[in-house]
């Protein structure tokens, strides 16, 4: 990372803009890359879902953005722009200020993220006074934000301790604490996984409402494709530390353009129809970042593998024109792929964009169109991008 880039102010309007982010953990034989060149933007009022299975690097991505990586792990390259400023190159006090005030984070387990010895109100207010709010302002804002997350009678609730609340209420408190300083970015790492489904539904609806009210840019990390279908405008699918597909939510489910995403979507039992045969399986074992196979990391499991797939790792390639229309008929056959009629090339099409592994950091980085309108599904729909050499129309 060059020091000069720290002062650079990105003109991109997106509250969160990540370019070529890499992170590694210390292993016995040196650092192991766990996040390998991630680039994406999240616009105001937009929710981007990051899905992946254990070991895909999705949680490390969240922790890298929030600057909360555990000991032994660190960001090794790239930039995380929050409101146009690169948080990775700024001074530590400045970084802490930006992260506390501009980036809120919500985790899976509301019990372990709250101090059991501290009253609810004091915990929420503490985050504000730490960022320079006066005690009076912090108190007023705390009561206001507790009300905004749908908690009844904030004044009396603020005097309770965490154990006196249910799991769903504790998660609301955490959301309130994250949103109290009015951040522009919210990172949510599986915040509803431990909750019952009717409570999860309430939290998802709450977050969608707050996203619109605050114009929040939300990164929602989950292993649950159902949650993604409900809440995300766009989805990033991660595999072996990289984004392997980036698409609008509608496109990802209707015509996935990476064989791994296609396998994930197909393996979920449908909620309609009478057919209950065997579920399609992906087979094989997930690639480990400690022992990546040559070429495409998914190639050993891929049903559409071609000989050249093991020669070089593909970057993200534009696939398919977006039809981000949510009102697709339920019974219409799913289009396999609505690929643009770009000249087809047998092998090694030039990666168009974001995650070029060996791209020079000093070259201007191409950026995805920055969505701007603070409303759901109002973004210009980009085409799907897939890190796969084989276009869907050539799948076997």
């Amino acid at each position: 990372m060059s020091a000069a880039r720290g002062t650079e102010r990105h003109t991109d309007q997106a509250p969160l803009h990540v370019t070529d982010l890499t992170a590694a953990v210390d292993g016995a034989d040196g650092p192991v890359p766990i996040v390998r060149g991630l680039s994406f933007s999240v616009g105001a009022g937009e929710t981007v879902g990051i899905v992946g299975e254990s070991g895909s690097g999705k949680s490390f991505t969240a922790l890298s953005i929030a600057g909360l990586l555990p000991a032994g792990a660190r960001v090794t390259g790239g930039s995380v722009y929050v409101q146009g400023r690169d948080t990775l190159t700024m001074s530590e006090p400045a970084r802490r200020r930006v992260r506390g005030a501009e980036v809120g984070m919500v985790y899976q387990d509301p019990m372990t993220s709250l101090n059991p010895m501290m009253r609810i109100g004091a915990q929420v207010a503490e985050g504000l006074t730490a960022h320079g709010w006066s005690a009076t302002d912090a108190r007023a804002r705390t009561l206001q934000v507790l009300g905004e997350v749908g908690l009844p009678s904030p004044e009396s609730l603020a005097r309770l301790y965490p154990h006196q609340l249910s799991g769903g209420m504790r998660q609301r408190v955490l959301i309130a604490a994250a949103l109290a300083p009015r951040p522009s970015v919210l990172i949510a790492d599986e915040p509803t996984t431990a909750l019952d489904v009717t409570i999860q539904q309430q939290i998802l609806a709450l977050v969608a409402r707050l996203r619109d009210e605050y114009g929040l840019a939300i990164v929602w990390i989950t292993h649950d494709l159902g949650v993604v279908a409900r809440i995300a405008d766009r989805v990033l699918v991660m595999y072996a530390g990289r984004i392997v597909e980036q698409a609008t939510t509608a496109d990802l489910f209707a015509h996935p353009t990476h064989p791994y995403s296609a396998g994930l979507v197909a393996s979920i039992p449908p909620m309609r129809g009478a057919d209950r045969g065997d579920l399609p399986q992906i087979g094989g074992v997930a690639a480990s970042v400690t022992a990546l196979p040559p070429g495409c990391p998914f190639a050993p499991r891929c049903p559409h593998r071609q000989p050249h797939c093991t020669e070089a790792e593909p970057g993200l390639i534009a696939r398919g024109a977006s039809q981000a229309v949510p009102d697709r008929s339920l019974d219409a056959p799913l289009p396999r792929s609505a690929a643009p009629q770009a000249p087809r090339r047998r092998a090694f099409p030039a990666p168009v964009s974001l995650a070029v592994p060996d791209g020079s950091l000093d070259a201007p980085l191409p950026r995805p169109a920055a969505p701007q309108a603070p409303r759901r599904r109002a973004f210009p729909a980009p085409v799907s991008l897939a890190a796969c050499w084989v276009p869907p129309e050539e799948w076997t």
Binding site: T198, A229, M271
Partner: protein, 365 residues
């Protein structure tokens, strides 16, 4: 509670007939089972109240509900980890409450449990092959070379090579560990598997593999399953019948497709609409019925219908009179097979899916 529950207006009292089950001999039967826990401070927790269920041999009953609904208590009673406060549990024709010690021991082999977290149920220092052999040793089922052969056979049954037996749990993937958990359950030659959130902790791609394995084992070994999950999609995929529990009671039970796709009880509708579906077309098309509030404390269940404080269809009667589990009035030629407990649905003779769709039409301009 149990004295009044399930009597009124009921031609097929659950405890009096096999009206709840499919035709065929029940392999597992619960009759008016009550399980209360006395606690210090909280009072009596009503984990199960007058629960009657029947699982015909070779079929799968899916059991859904949220935390505290009593589904895990049901599992624990079936595998004799606990005893019911009252009511009877009949497994393979034998009443647990009246069984001799020898019979109860035999029933422990008849019905086996597969847990959610295979990692927590395996000793990290024991090779997984030995963990399977241990089960055979405890039940004195095979010794010496025969035991080794049986371990290899069990590994093969769950789709693992016999070389997998020499591995330690941490050397296996989550899916492989769950296969070991299933092999251990199968080691004693059970007729029934209680699968308590058995695929919930697995990654999406692995879940499909284990679901397919369970379907194959059921087919090949003629097993009976109680499939407990909060995941309505998985329950829908594997079950012949589905039972829905709320605060210790069955609120709806019937054939898988009506219960899952056009539920008749308002709670099942709420549950169905709460579960996010991995299909944006379904997500944006279906009405969102969001129930307010949270599940009440099982130590102080609400009077009348236990769901009434959160129910969009609730009326005065619901707060005072407890509904009983009765056949859906219009269950199309199969009376007695689709049961639910709801005053409003029974009076209107229409399922909650219909009633709530009507309400939504009236409200919207």
């Amino acid at each position: 509670m149990s004295a009044t529950h399930g009597v009124e207006g009921l031609t097929t009292h659950p405890s009096a007939s096999s009206g709840i089950g499919l035709d065929g001999v029940p392999m597992v039967e619960l009759r008016d089972v009550v399980k209360h826990y006395r606690t210090r401070g909280r009072g009596t927790v009503h984990a199960m109240d007058a629960v009657s269920l029947s699982i015909p041999a070779g079929s799968t009953l899916g059991l859904v509900g949220e935390s505290g609904c009593g589904k895990s208590t049901t599992a624990r009673l079936l595998v004799q980890l606990e005893r019911p406060t009252s009511g009877s549990i009949i497994i393979d024709g034998i009443d647990l409450g009246r069984a001799s010690a020898a019979e109860r021991r035999r029933l422990r082999r008849t019905i086996q449990m597969v847990f959610q977290d295979p990692y927590a149920s395996l000793d990290p220092r024991v090779r997984v092959g030995e963990a399977i052999a241990e089960v055979l040793a405890v039940h004195r089922l095979a010794a010496g070379a025969r035991r080794r052969d049986r371990v290899a056979e069990l590994l093969d049954m769950v789709g693992l090579p016999s070389s997998a037996g020499t591995r330690y749990p941490h050397e296996l993937s989550g899916g492989q560990r769950q296969r070991i958990g299933i092999a251990r359950a199968l080691a004693v030659g059970p007729k029934v598997l209680v699968l308590d959130e058995a695929v919930s902790a697995l990654d999406v791609s692995v879940r499909a593999e284990v679901m397919n394995l369970l379907a194959r084992l059921r087919r090949e070994l003629g097993l009976t399953y109680l499939f407990i999950s909060h995941d309505l999609g998985m329950v829908r995929h594997i079950s012949d019948r589905i039972a829905v529990m709320y605060l210790g009671q069955i609120v709806e039970v019937g054939p898988w497709q009506p219960v899952s796709d056009v539920p008749a009880h308002p709670y099942t509708v709420a549950l169905q609409s709460a579960v996010p579906v991995a299909d944006p077309a379904v997500e944006s098309a279906r009405p969102q019925l969001a129930v307010s509030g949270e599940v009440p404390d099982a130590a102080k269940p609400p009077a009348g219908c236990r769901f009434h404080p959160r129910c969009p269809l609730a009326e005065e009667v619901c707060a005072t009179r407890e509904p009983s589990l009765a056949p859906l009035a219009d269950s199309g030629g199969a009376p007695g097979r689709h049961l639910l407990s709801c005053h409003v649905v029974q009076r209107e003779r229409r399922g909650a899916t219909d009633l709530l769709a009507d309400a939504a039409t009236v409200e919207s301009p």
